[in-house]
């Protein structure tokens, strides 16, 4: 079975083609174009959606070319329906609807967060993991129980990706800033105490953000280093709590911030302490990509017919723990 997946929740517009054989999936192509705002600025939803519109034909045809697949050979089309930025989501949905109606191909709206997890499971081989989803849109610890992903801990305000981006922008980087902060942090080992806020299994980053901005005038490198150390220690602690509480023997990290080496180093140590297997989505597929959407659509097609065009939708708010997983 061959599927096309279209991702356009935030800064990335991506198309991917995957082939599914039983429970095995193979990525035939995954093409992306990422919107870059000017230095010091965040994603402007309208500008990002214009970017996606402009590049969508190119990305789509390159994706088909690389996979050596013609549109009429596709069995299904899936698109990310949320959560994300409305104007950006609409671009992906319009592309998906147009193809689906013109070529009469079944269409599947997919939850973007679920996509991160399913692709992570496919690529790492994790069976029954505790999942840490860390990105610009999510900071959640999840485990699967009774047809739904249940939240064991999450952020009470901004996400891990947001604190890195918002701080990064305040010192002149362009979003996404994770890599710049990580690089600058390597040049310091001078830790400055910052607010550490763990509430049970949940975290809160807003106080940490303000406090980091307040120490930046002394040294940007120290601030980046201390921010990473504090925020990642908070994440590691809640992961450790959830591991101890659920007794899971696998940890899977997905989402854009999974690419950060310091974070994965810390979480690897946590896993060692709890004799738990450590899985991390490969850097290339940790962040937003069409493959995550395509694979989830293919999984859903096992148990569901596509939706009819009039029922296709996009939504900015769509919590992962409200999705029923039947496959």
């Amino acid at each position: 079975m061959i599927g096309l997946g279209i991702e356009s929740t935030a800064h990335t517009f991506s198309c991917a083609i995957l082939e599914k054989n039983g429970n095995k999936g193979k990525i035939l192509s995954d093409v992306r174009k990422i919107y870059r705002p000017p230095d010091g600025e965040g994603i402007h939803p309208r500008e990002a959606s214009r970017h996606h519109l402009e590049f969508s034909p190119k990305v789509l045809s390159q994706c088909l070319q690389e996979a050596k697949i013609k549109i009429n050979e596709l069995d299904i089309i899936s698109y990310s329906a949320g959560p994300g930025l409305g104007p950006c989501l609409r671009v992906g949905a319009v592309v998906a609807r147009s193809l689906a109606s013109f070529y009469n191909i079944p269409i599947y709206p997919v939850n973007h967060a679920l996509g991160h997890i399913e692709l992570g499971k496919l690529l790492t081989g994790a069976k029954n993991p505790l999942v840490l989803l860390v990105s610009g849109g999510h900071t959640m610890i999840l485990a699967f129980l009774n047809k739904q992903w249940r939240v064991f801990g999450e952020t009470l305000d901004i996400t891990l990706g947001q604190i890195l981006d918002q701080f990064g922008r305040s010192i002149g980087f362009a979003s996404p800033c994770g890599k710049n902060i990580e690089d600058l942090a390597l040049s310091s080992s001078n830790y400055i105490l910052l607010p550490y806020s763990v509430k049970g299994n949940d975290v809160s980053f807003s106080g940490l953000l303000s406090a980091t901005k307040a120490i930046v005038s002394k040294s940007k490198a120290d601030a980046c280093f201390s921010l990473q150390e504090t925020a990642f220690a908070m994440i590691s602690e809640v992961v450790e709590r959830a591991l101890a509480f659920t007794g899971k023997k696998e940890l899977l990290i997905v989402g854009g911030v999974a690419a950060n080496k310091r974070l994965s180093e810390m979480l690897q140590k946590v896993c060692k302490r709890h004799t738990c297997k450590f899985f991390i989505a490969p850097a290339k597929y940790a962040g937003d990509c069409g493959s995550q959407i395509c694979w989830t659509g293919l999984l859903e097609s096992k148990v569901k017919q596509g939706v009819s065009l009039k029922d296709t939708f996009v939504t900015q708010s769509w919590r992962l723990d409200s999705v029923i997983v039947n496959y």
Binding site: A242, H274, R319
Partner: protein, 206 residues
């Protein structure tokens, strides 16, 4: 010494104190954490835990007796409660005990203590009594918002680890809680729980 459990925060050993069995709780160095931050967290929580464990006892809540605190090693020796965590009890029992747990949480809040880590593993059922443990994240606070954070956490745990019995058990918890804090506080705090939930990522915006 026998290692009983590797918790998230601390390792739990079985030891002897004054010729009887006791629990040794050690907050060991976490190598993944920056040493300055690590030392601060371990010391702060050891102090907080030993203080609150004794404080809430004076409200009539059952907690282990603290025998000895070693701040240098971030360790506490305390009474052993040989019962079972509520988390491991049969569903019907958890539903039944939820009311009592609600009462206990109500008494803590009424006396200005927030537990900070209300999970079903931190209530031990022993000889028909519920003991509360793990006060490392507790705070002395009379703010309704803080109390609501406590309630939200136990709700989150029921909703995830005990999804099948969530409705019954949460209802019973609230009945118990209301009977202690009174209708006015109950209404205020449960409304705040909804406010915190609505702040959650991608919660349905009305």
């Amino acid at each position: 010494m026998k290692l009983l459990r590797k918790g998230a925060e601390a390792d739990i050993y079985l030891t002897m104190w004054d010729n009887s069995q006791a629990i040794l709780k050690v907050r060991n160095v976490k190598k993944y954490r920056n040493p300055i931050l690590d030392a601060k967290i371990r010391k702060q929580r050891t102090i907080k835990e030993s203080q609150t464990i004794s404080l809430v006892k004076s409200f009539g809540i059952s907690t282990p007796l603290v025998y000895y605190v070693n701040l240098k090693k971030s360790s506490i020796i305390m009474q052993e409660i040989p019962g079972k965590p509520v988390h491991d009890l049969p569903n019907s029992k958890i539903i039944e005990l939820s009311k009592e747990i609600g009462k206990i949480v109500g008494v803590m809040h009424k006396n200005g203590v927030m537990h900070g880590d209300l999970t079903t593993s931190n209530f031990i059922y022993y000889k028909n009594k519920i003991y509360v443990i793990d006060f490392g994240l507790s705070q002395n606070t009379i703010k309704s918002e803080d109390h609501a954070v406590d309630l939200r956490l136990i709700k989150e745990i029921l909703n995830s680890a005990h999804a099948q019995i969530m409705e019954h058990s949460w209802k019973n918890f609230l009945i118990g809680y209301k009977s202690i804090v009174g209708l006015a506080n109950y209404t205020k705090i449960t409304n705040l729980v909804s406010v915190i939930e609505s702040r959650g990522r991608y919660a349905t915006v009305i």
